[in-house]
Structures are given as C-alpha cells and as structure tokens.
C-alpha cells in the first residue's frame, strides 16, 4: 500500500513528474552512452593498436624497443620459432618482421620512413596490412614490390607501377640504395601510419641489409588480449633474457592500457557531473511536492505515522521516479547503442582533429552491463541521497503547524 501511495502521489502532477522523469531518462542515457562511446573508442584503439604491427605479445632483441636500429636484431631465429611452435595456445598466430629506418625518394621529394619487411601471407589476421590494400596487387608476387600508404603516395606524387629508391643502412653500417616498384597502396586508420610505414617482402629487406635470416621482431596475436601476460610469462621462461626481450601490448602501447584502466574513473566522474545537473531539478520537484502537501503530512502525523514514516514515504516516491527513469534511460541507451554500434559514428569529417589524438574515424559504441549498472546505480543512490533533504523537511512538519498552514 505504501508503494501504491508513493506511485499515485508521483502522478498527482503528471506534467511535472514527466519533465523530471525525462531529465532522469536523459541523464541515465547520457551516462550509459558516454561509457559505451568511450568503450567503443577504447576497443577500437586497442584493436588498432594491436593491428598496428604490434600484436598482443612481441619477442624482440634487447634494446630494440628503446632504439630500433638494425644492430638490435634477433640473430637466433630458430630458438624463437621453436618456442612459439610449442608454447603458444591454440588459435594464436605469429609472424616475424624486419624493420629499419629508411629514406624514400621520388623525383618530387625524399621522406624519412620506416621500412618494414613482412611475410605478406602471414600478415593475414595479424595486422591491418592484409585488409588495407586499396590499389595494386600487394607484395604477393613481386620480389621488389613496395606497399606505400595513400598519404605518402600523394606526397611523393607517385602511382602504382612507379619506381621509388630507398636508402638504408646495412648490417655493416654502409648506406645501401635499392630501387623498388610500387605494387600496392594501402589505407590505414591513421594518416600518420600511411606516412610512416612502407612495406616490402621480408627476404628482400634481409638481402638488402645483409642480415641473413635475422629479424627485428616476432609478433604474436592471441585469441584474447587477456591471455597476453600469461603467454609472455611462459615465453620469458623459455627465452634467455640476454638475447631476447618479451613484451606485452601493455608495455608496447602503454597509453592504450592506461586509457582502458582509467575509463571507469572517467565514467564515474561524468556520471557525477550529469547527476549534479539533474539533481537540482530533482530536489526542486520533490521540494515542491512536499510543500504543497503540508496539510496532508500534518494529517497523517496526527493519525499516528512517525516522522520516519513520512521520510520513508517521500524517499519511496523519489525511488519510484528514479527506478522508472533509470529503466527508461537504460532502454533508450540500449536502443541507441545497439543502433549506432551497428552503423558506427562517423568522425571522418573531423578526422584531421581526431587523428591528432590517435583516435578512430568511426567509433562503434558498445555498452557493458557494468555501464548500465554504474549509471543506474549513480542515479539511484545519489538521487535518494539528495531526496533526503526534502524528505527531512517533510518529516519535521507537525500536525499543529500543518493546521496553521494555508
């Protein structure tokens, strides 16, 4: 019956209740949607980071991570191969690459780049490379083929089929130059990637630099990012520290990990900000409801309800409002997130700006159950807390004071 009373009281002023209900709905929606947006952005950032030739775990030579020069390379490739072959969990994939700093020249300019020698077939499902070739045939059947980013191609004023000359330092410290043919153009999420990375076949680069079968890195992609620490631990046990360095994605792209970790805190801060905006309306509407019912509170106090009973009634009324609002807001958020999660939110119009921060062009929001729980929880707990103020005011009304009230 208390619930019935609370519910009916809530709807004595339908318009006022609807307005504040709408505020709660929008508030909860904003909370969940923000969390989902950030989560989508983070997930994309992680995906991109992993696909950006990082992988979940890498094996490198000591010192390469800090100073990626050709001298810091893995010379004992067989040991790593054996370790990967026997220790990786099912579903894991790996490939090896050779990297070096280089200068690419065309008749229109020369640019500093990173030349990466890859095994084109093995990159499938490992990095963005396999799915990103937009023109040309790629590296598959071209020993001296070169895969160039769209943005760099524009700067070089070149096209597929054109020749480019690449200068790099070989194993003995000599500058070597080789002519390559552009056999493919790739697009990356980030323009900086397109300008920075140039790809050729691994064997070609190994020969050019005179490093035999040596590589710079083994990159491993696992079925789930969470497995990275465990896999890294197993590999570290097998591969001696003197010759190998095992890194997880958290060590290689630490800002992504830091973003992921602080996401909950950001969401909570945002939730509180949204709530504060909402709280004024809420307290105001509950106060109004209390002040226009002074006589009623006096009456039921005379009948024998305790001040605590009055307080409970007002809080219960607010609770009804908050539950409906939280449910409505969550539902609205679920619909929005579900829809935009499928279509994505296109930021390409602002891509120049977002790229600068390393963010994606298209964000696919995804909400976790905890996002709904956090939003609904924030609104419910803080909402009840602020409703205590009008509730205490109501509880203090005495029958005699209420009778004098007009």
């Amino acid at each position: 019956m208390n619930l019935t009373i609370a519910w009916r009281n809530l709807w004595r002023h339908p318009r006022r209740t609807l307005v504040i209900l709408l505020a709660v709905i929008v508030g909860v929606w904003a909370m969940v949607f923000y969390a989902a947006f950030i989560r989508g952005m983070m997930a994309d950032m992680l995906r991109q980071g992993i696909a950006n030739l990082t992988g979940h775990v890498q094996v490198q030579a000591p010192g390469f991570f800090e100073n990626p020069v050709i001298d810091a390379r893995i010379r004992d490739v067989a040991t790593v191969r054996d370790a990967l072959g026997s220790l990786l969990p099912e579903g894991a994939r790996w490939t090896s690459r050779l990297r070096t700093g280089a200068v690419v020249r065309s008749p229109h300019g020369a640019y500093g780049v990173t030349l990466v020698g890859v095994d084109p077939a093995a990159e499938h499902g490992m990095s963005f490379l396999a799915d990103s070739v937009t023109e040309g045939s790629g590296l598959a059947n071209a020993p001296h083929g070169l895969l160039v980013g769209r943005a760099l191609l524009v700067k070089l004023e070149a096209r597929t089929g054109h020749r480019l000359v690449i200068d790099a330092q070989d194993a003995s410290g000599q500058i070597v130059s080789r002519a390559f043919v552009i056999t493919g153009v790739y697009r990356a999420q980030l323009e900086t990637t397109e300008k920075q990375l140039i790809f050729c076949r691994r064997e070609t680069l190994q020969r050019m630099l005179g490093v035999g079968g040596d590589v710079s890195e083994f990159s491993i992609v696992l079925p789930a990012a969470e497995e990275s620490p465990a896999v890294a631990r197993t590999l570290r046990e097998r591969l001696p520290e003197s010759a190998f360095r095992v890194l997880t994605w958290r060590e290689m792209i630490p800002f992504v990990g830091a973003y992921l970790d602080s996401m909950t805190v950001y969401a909570l801060i945002w939730n509180v900000i949204v709530f504060v905006a909402m709280a004024f309306g809420l307290v105001n509407s509950v106060l109004m409801a209390v002040f226009e019912r002074v006589r009623e509170f006096g009456l039921v106090r005379a009948l024998g309800i305790t001040p605590f009973g009055i307080l409970g009634g007002v809080v219960l009324e607010t609770a009804c409002l908050l539950v409906v609002g939280a449910a409505g807001g969550s539902l609205l958020a679920a619909v929005t997130v579900e829809t935009l999660g499928r279509t994505g939110i296109d930021f390409s119009a602002f891509s120049a700006g977002t790229e600068y921060f390393g963010l994606a062009r298209i964000v696919y929001p995804e909400a976790a159950a905890s996002d709904y729980a956090l939003a609904a929880g924030t609104v419910f707990v803080l909402g009840l807390l602020v409703s205590l103020y009008p509730a205490v005011k109501a509880a203090r009304i005495t029958p005699v004071a209420a009778m004098a009230h007009v």
Binding site: M1, N2, T4, I5, R8, N9, R12, R295, E296, L299, V300, R301, A302, L303, G304, I305, T306, G309, T398, P399, V400, M403
Partner: protein, 240 residues
C-alpha cells in the same frame, strides 16, 4: 466563572483528564493566551460538545487531549498515560492506538479511495491485509457508504468525506474520538446526519466522542456540553 472539579464530570472510567492546563502561543513578540488553568475530565462512553466562540480555545484543547501539542503547564492523562512524561514517539504510538481524529477539512488522503483511507490507519497499526479489507468494508457500510468504497475524496460530497473520516476514526475501536468542528463545512441537514451517525456509534458501540462546535444546532445532539470562554471552562452541563 465557575470552574468545575475534574472528577465530577462523569461516572465512567476517565479516558482523558486535563488538569490545570495552560497554553500560550507566541505570535511574533506577542504572547497569545489560549488555555488558562483549564481542567476537564472526559469519561468513557461520553458524547461531549466543546462549545464556545471562535478563539475560545476549543481547537487548542482538542490538540492537547490528542497529544498533538504539549501544554505549557499542567498535566494531561490519555488512556492511562501521562502525556508529559512520554517521548514524542510514545505519544505518536498512543495516538495511533487509542485516538481517532475528525477534522473540519482536509481529513482524507486525496490519492486514496474511501476504503483505502480507512485501511491506512490499520496499515500503520500493523493490521493484516485481509482484515484491513473486511473491516474497512464493514465500517463503511455502517456509516452508510456502501458502494462508494472505491471513490476518491474528490469524487465525494463534503458529507460523504466526513463520514469516511468518522469511519476511519472508529475503525480500530479507539478510546476516544476527537472531532474539531466536523460539521463546519456542511449544510445543516448534512450536519445533523453526521451528528446522528456519531451519536449512533456512541450508543451502539460506546465510542467516546468529544467534538468542538459553535453551532447551536449541532450542540443540541450532545449529552454533555462544556462551554469555553477565553481558554477556561465556564459551564459544564449534562443533558438528557
């Protein structure tokens, strides 16, 4: 000005004993005297009218009897307990268990139907749901409101609303029902009906009533008339 000793007023067990009670209100800087060393005793089964001009202290006296307010001086005994010795929570509980109230207006909770208004007090008293239902139905039938159980206050006439209030006041068999000008907003015909209803409860169930009025027509129904002036009892007469 005759002041009658408290003990003389009735033969039955005293339900309310007001002894030497004074009450003033502070209105800004002005002190307004409301009751002045007033004593009166209400015995079980009485049907008493508090009569006096506006401002004579009727409402103040009823509030003190029902434990809605505290006197400045003097002592009040309600259902065997000295109110001035009790905590606020104990007074509230005492009121819930032993006192029924009927006010001049705003008697009912607007969002509840007639039956629910009657049930509400029983809910506070901890009466079970099924018993609440059947008792509410029965008492509404007794006050002649069968068929109107599901009406909200706004859908009932003033007389019907006051009947609901009376039904609510008596439903749990209180020691006393205090009614402050219950007929003030009713026409004389409806007022008479309400008084007859209350008197019927008094006769059939022995419910003790004290009601305040300044209406000659209403006070004719009383079995005892306590006249107040300037916060003191000036006359206390029994009628037959």
């Amino acid at each position: 000005m005759t002041e009658l000793p408290a003990g003389r007023s009735g033969a039955g067990t005293p339900i309310v004993e007001v002894r030497d009670v004074s009450k003033t209100y502070a209105q800004g800087k002005v002190i307004v005297p409301a009751l002045n060393s007033l004593s009166v005793t209400i015995a079980e089964g009485e049907f008493t009218a508090l009569v006096g001009p506006s401002g004579s202290g009727k409402t103040t006296l009823l509030n003190l009897m029902g434990g809605l307010d505290l006197p400045d001086r003097g002592s009040i005994l309600l259902a065997g307990r000295r109110l001035e010795t009790l905590s606020a929570a104990e007074v509230t509980r005492l009121r819930l268990q032993h006192v029924g109230f009927v006010f001049q207006a705003y008697n009912l909770i607007p969002v509840l139907s007639a039956a629910e208004n009657v049930e509400y007090v029983m809910l506070l008293q901890g009466v079970s749901r099924s018993e609440r239902r059947s008792r509410a139905r029965a008492v509404l039938e007794e006050v002649g409101l069968t068929g109107l159980e599901d009406r909200r206050p706004a859908e009932m006439s003033g007389g019907q609303q006051q009947r609901v209030a009376v039904a609510r006041a008596i439903v749990s068999g209180p020691a006393i029902v205090l009614a402050d000008e219950p007929t003030a907003n009713l026409d004389s015909h409806t007022a008479t009906e309400l008084l007859q209803l209350m008197r019927g409860m008094n006769v059939r169930h022995g419910v003790t009533f004290v009601f305040a009025t300044h209406d000659e027509l209403v006070m004719r129904h009383a079995k005892r008339i306590v006249r107040l002036r300037d916060g003191a009892v000036v006359e206390d007469e029994r009628c037959s």
